[in-house]
Amino acid sequence: MIVNRKPLTFWEKLYLPAIVGGFKVTIRHALRSLFGGKTVTMEYPEQKWAVPPDYRGAPYLVKDQDGNTKCVSCQLCEFVCPPKAIKIIPPGPAGQSADRSNAEKMPQEFEINMLRCIFCGLCQEVCPEEAIFLQKDYSLTGLSREEMIYDKEKLLALGGIHGGIQKWKQKLEEAKEQETFPVKV
């Protein structure tokens, strides 16, 4: 495409219209941000952006509505994790049993290395127990590498209680439904 360059008029050659224009624009903006307080800056630690609902932040373990550990130590998330950020130590044959009645076991140790995590969400996608969710935390900081490896207690505390999805309650209701015939779905 060829753009024809219009020759400048005498006024434009003097740069005067440009000077006046620049003067007007700059003073308008300066006065507006100085006295009107209309700045575009978000002053971060005091003001925070609204995190969108399906934001993929840090993955944390969640508890069910009764405050029990949801994770059953199946290790699917450990296997699927692309950067190998998750490390699970299962309880073993003689280990502690799960703190809820409808699960066999829960992890003895569950670690996520937040320096390795790429926030891809595969662990959440693969979890059969809906025990791990990518939550809305985006500013993870620490003073050492060790500090950035989150252990089970920390992950559970940060994850909190996830009352929304109550998989086993629904399963129980489904099972009860199936007691009667014909099955209502």
């Binding site: 440009a18 003067f23 700059t26 903006h29 300066a30 507006r32 941000s33 100085l34 575009v40 800056t41």
Partner: protein, 353 residues
């Protein structure tokens, strides 16, 4: 040798250098703040020593203005690693920052920043050839930049150095010629005498506005400020001539650039806006009392600060000139204009005499 003269000169030099350094630090802050406001931003508003927040009312306001940012910046420059890249020409690499700073400091020596305090004239060196000295020293400033570009042994600084040498040499000519009408009118090169003449007859900007405009534009070009910041054009040349510099050496270039701005603001105030005089409130003649002397210094500083704000403000008004447009403006517009200005002034003065 007059010991009195030596002692007072040393004191004046120390004070002026200290004040100029402080002004440079706060000019950087002003630049950042004004730029921020023009761009709808907030600007630096965090850095402060911990006890300041405890001051009720004033403390948070000062932090909000970023008044402690220059301290943090200075500390950062001191503590940063001074890195010398492999392959630089070491001698020139070390020499260039010093050469960039020294001329801008030397220029300030002849600027009268006040009338009198007691019996001391408020100028470091009351030279009879004041403005010639200024032009001589200012033209040394280009060596710092050219040497920096050459010493870095890298293409972007080299291009920056080449651009600056061409630009500064071109604009020195129109700058020098633009002030000739001033001297034709006043008939003296001594800056104090020029101020004295202006106190009697009115500011020279009224007599020779074209001189002022050419001088102003040339001053922008000489100090490498936008719209003539081709030597350091970040968008084109990474950082220009100081790309390879770090830490205190980089800070020296910064210091040189801003002291240049301060010096040229001072010269413009002196030559065209009556220096330390004001036509009213009886500030038009050399001070006899201490209060009037201090008032004169304040008048000068305020006028200079207004020019500094202009320097910063203009930065956001225009896009950068293209290299050929820059040369065109310098050689084909300003040089002929300055020549015509000299001729017309001379003819008018001849007719009037």
């Amino acid at each position: 040798m007059d010991w009195n003269f030596i002692i007072f000169s040393v004191v004046k030099i120390a004070i002026v250098i200290g004040v100029v350094q402080g002004m440079v630090a706060y000019a950087v802050l002003a630049e950042r703040k004004i730029s921020a406001w023009i761009q709808d931003r907030v600007g630096p508003n965090r850095a402060a020593p911990p006890f300041v927040k405890a001051i009720p009312g004033l403390g948070p306001f000062m932090i909000r203005l970023g008044l402690f940012q220059p301290l943090a910046d200075g500390l950062k420059f001191m503590l940063k690693e001074d890195f010398t890249p492999a392959g630089v020409r070491k001698v020139y690499f070390w020499l260039a920052p010093a050469i960039a700073v020294i001329p801008s400091m030397l220029v300030i020596a002849v600027i009268p920043f006040g009338s009198q305090l007691g019996h001391q004239q408020m100028v470091i060196a009351n030279l009879n050839v004041g403005i010639l000295y200024t032009f001589g020293i200012v033209s040394l400033g280009v060596y710092g930049i050219v040497l920096a570009g050459y010493a870095a042994n890298s293409k972007y600084p080299f291009l920056g150095g080449i651009r600056s040498s061409a630009q500064m040499i071109s604009y020195e000519i129109s700058m020098g010629m633009s002030v000739i009408p001033v001297f034709l009118i006043v008939g003296n090169l001594n800056l104090n005498q020029i101020i004295g003449w202006q106190a009697q007859h009115g500011w020279l900007v009224l007599y020779s506005p074209l001189s002022f405009i050419i001088f102003l534009v040339a001053a922008f070009a000489e100090t490498n400020r936008l719209p003539f910041d081709l030597p350091e054009a970040e968008t084109e040349l990474v950082g220009g001539y100081h790309t390879e510099y770090s830490s205190m050496k980089f800070a020296l270039f910064f210091l040189g650039e801003y002291s240049n701005m301060i010096a040229s603001a001072g010269i413009m105030v002196t030559l065209f806006f009556g220096g330390w005089t004001l036509p009213f409130w009886g500030l038009g003649h050399p001070a006899t009392t201490l209060v009037a002397g201090i008032a004169h210094i304040l008048v000068f500083v305020v006028k200079m600060l207004l020019f500094m704000v202009l320097f910063i403000w203009v930065r956001w008004m225009f896009p950068r000139f293209r290299y050929d447009q820059l040369m065109d403006l310098g050689w084909r517009k300003f040089v002929p204009l300055a020549l015509v200005n000299i001729l017309v002034t001379a003819v008018v003065l001849w007719m009037m005499s």
